[in-house]
């Protein structure tokens, strides 16, 4: 479905994740963060940039991997993006919801 974020129409799925990463920009990310009551800081953006880089390289993301990435430890990751940090951060980053395989 289409949604207007930061003044531009973007495609999102029923849970609000962007379905086309090319439509993402920092203004879109900032607005998605606001929806999650998060005020972005340079530290937040560092993490977002890391997630986007992993996504582009087809690396599946998990809390464990992020904790071992050297970019951020799990404790800080939770402080930056409270409650469900990987899901919240993925949404802000404009990448798909992380899948936990079964």
């Amino acid at each position: 479905m289409e949604k207007i974020i930061a003044g531009i129409p973007v495609q999102v799925n029923e849970e609000g994740y962007l379905t086309d990463f090319s439509q993402w920009n920092q203004a879109v990310g900032t607005e998605l963060a606001q929806e999650a009551s998060i005020v972005m800081t340079p530290r937040h953006w560092e993490v977002i940039t890391y997630l986007q880089k992993e996504f582009k390289n087809d690396v599946p993301l998990s809390i464990r991997k992020i904790g071992k990435s050297g970019v951020v430890d799990i404790k800080e990751f939770y402080q930056l993006f409270p409650m469900a940090p990987l899901k919240t951060a993925s949404k802000i980053a404009g990448i798909p919801k992380p899948v936990s395989c079964i």
């Binding site: 809390i63 071992k68 404790k75 990751f77 409650m83 395989c101 079964i102």
Partner: protein, 411 residues
């Protein structure tokens, strides 16, 4: 004489030994299977052992009873695989070279990954049921437990048999009801996922059952540590859940031998092509069952379907033919829901579990994603099928290695 070595004689390795024994020319190929243990454990039985539904002797049998004559069973610990030079070295110092290697070393719990898990309360009020010892210790605990807060908990994904923790919670509800003490037990299900399961339709069905059985769910819980003094589990966000009895599924990891051999990812799973089951790094190494990193369930049914396809692929590989890209992630799992009922789910990489009938479209007799008694009979009958058909590589009638889409209600 050429040699094929199978590492591990669990569900996956034993099935491969049986398949290959039937299909390979014994004058040309020697088949060896290596395992450090002497007993084969029926792992689905670990779910029933704590509730006194199965006895230990129902679920443990000698490995050698299931390995065909003509296959060499080697009872040794593997020290290292050296894929660059095509050999395996044992702790005893022996080397064994191979033409083809099949890795079926499985996965197991790693409670040491979580701070405090193996602390003062381990096997006092903190238990696992993913090992024979853990399930048995939990049975003994439950026999005289007087009630309180029981927390059923998943540490992180992926885990072996991802529905087992839910089944445990359902069976616990049923067990306490039968003992007339359900009112003395507060049951909570704690998961790192956002809901009861990963796939939407099954999540809805399973969450409905949790509610019906008055089992509370705490989702999105990523455990940081267990506080043994306060008897709480604490997540990275600072959220705590108190327990009197914690039944946890610790982090699951592939075998240490994979790490020692430098062949795995950060959880010791071997990178594997998901449709052919060939290792991504070495063409003469194949991986099946829980040892691989493919995005399918870590479950016996998956290993069974993989074994049928992998056997064909090994024959193709030997003949120098292209491999079949056929494995679709097919899984078929009974989910015990307590009170003598179960539901059945059938799914693959691309199709989530939905409602329908199985295995005969429109007829059943098994119902998909709906509770029924006959599904429960199916689950109990499965133990006989496992020991007598599955391990021997006998094809299960009417159930194909790839998932069938007929008889299912897709949107």
């Amino acid at each position: 004489m050429k040699r094929i070595i199978i590492l591990g004689s669990g569900t996956a390795g034993t099935m491969m030994a049986n398949h290959l024994h039937h299909r390979l020319n014994s004058g040309e190929w020697e088949i060896d299977i290596i395992d450090e243990r002497k007993e084969h454990y029926y792992q689905p039985g670990y779910l029933f052992l704590p509730f006194d539904i199965y006895d230990p002797e129902d679920i443990v049998k000698p490995i050698k009873d299931f390995i065909p004559k003509g296959v060499n069973l080697i009872n040794e610990t593997i020290e290292r695989i050296v894929p660059q030079e095509n050999y395996v070295s044992m702790i005893s110092g022996d080397h064994l070279s191979y033409d083809i290697l099949i890795v079926a070393t499985g996965c197991k719990i790693a409670p040491e990954e979580t701070e405090g898990m193996q602390g003062a309360e381990w096997q006092k009020s903190v238990f696992d049921f993913y090992t024979f010892e853990g399930a048995l210790a939990l049975r003994n605990k439950l026999r005289d437990w007087e009630g309180g807060k029981m927390v059923v908990h998943i540490t992180e994904m992926p885990i072996k048999c991802p529905v087992a923790p839910l089944e445990f919670a359902f069976l616990a509800d049923s067990y306490f009801k039968h003992r007339n003490m359900r009112h003395q037990v507060e049951l909570t299900f704690v998961t790192p996922l956002s809901g009861a399961f990963t796939k939407p339709k099954a999540t809805a069905a399973l969450e409905h059952l949790l509610e019906e059985k008055h089992i509370k769910i705490e989702s999105d819980f990523a455990i940081e540590r267990i506080d043994n003094e306060q008897k709480t589990i604490v997540d990275y966000g600072g959220r705590t859940v108190p327990f009197d009895l914690l039944v946890t599924v610790p982090t699951n990891k592939g075998d240490e031998v994979i790490a020692r051999s430098g062949m795995g990812d950060d959880l010791n799973y071997v990178p594997t092509h998901k449709a052919t089951l060939q290792s991504k790094n070495w063409p003469n190494i194949f991986v099946l069952g829980d040892a691989s990193d493919i995005p399918a369930s870590k479950a016996g049914s998956v290993a069974h379907f993989e074994a049928e396809i992998l056997t064909d692929n090994i024959l193709h590989y030997i003949a120098g033919e292209p491999l079949k890209e056929e494995f679709d992630g097919h899984a078929n799992c009974f989910v015990e829901t307590g009170n003598g009922k179960a539901l059945l789910i059938d799914f693959n990489y691309t199709h989530e579990p939905v409602e329908g009938t199985f295995p005969f479209p429109g007829i059943g007799p098994l119902r998909l994603l709906k509770e029924s008694r006959i599904n429960h009979m199916g689950k109990l009958a499965f133990r006989w099928i496992y020991w007598n058909m599955l391990l021997k590589g006998t094809h299960i009638p009417f159930v194909s290695a790839t998932m069938s889409e007929s008889g299912k209600q897709f949107d």
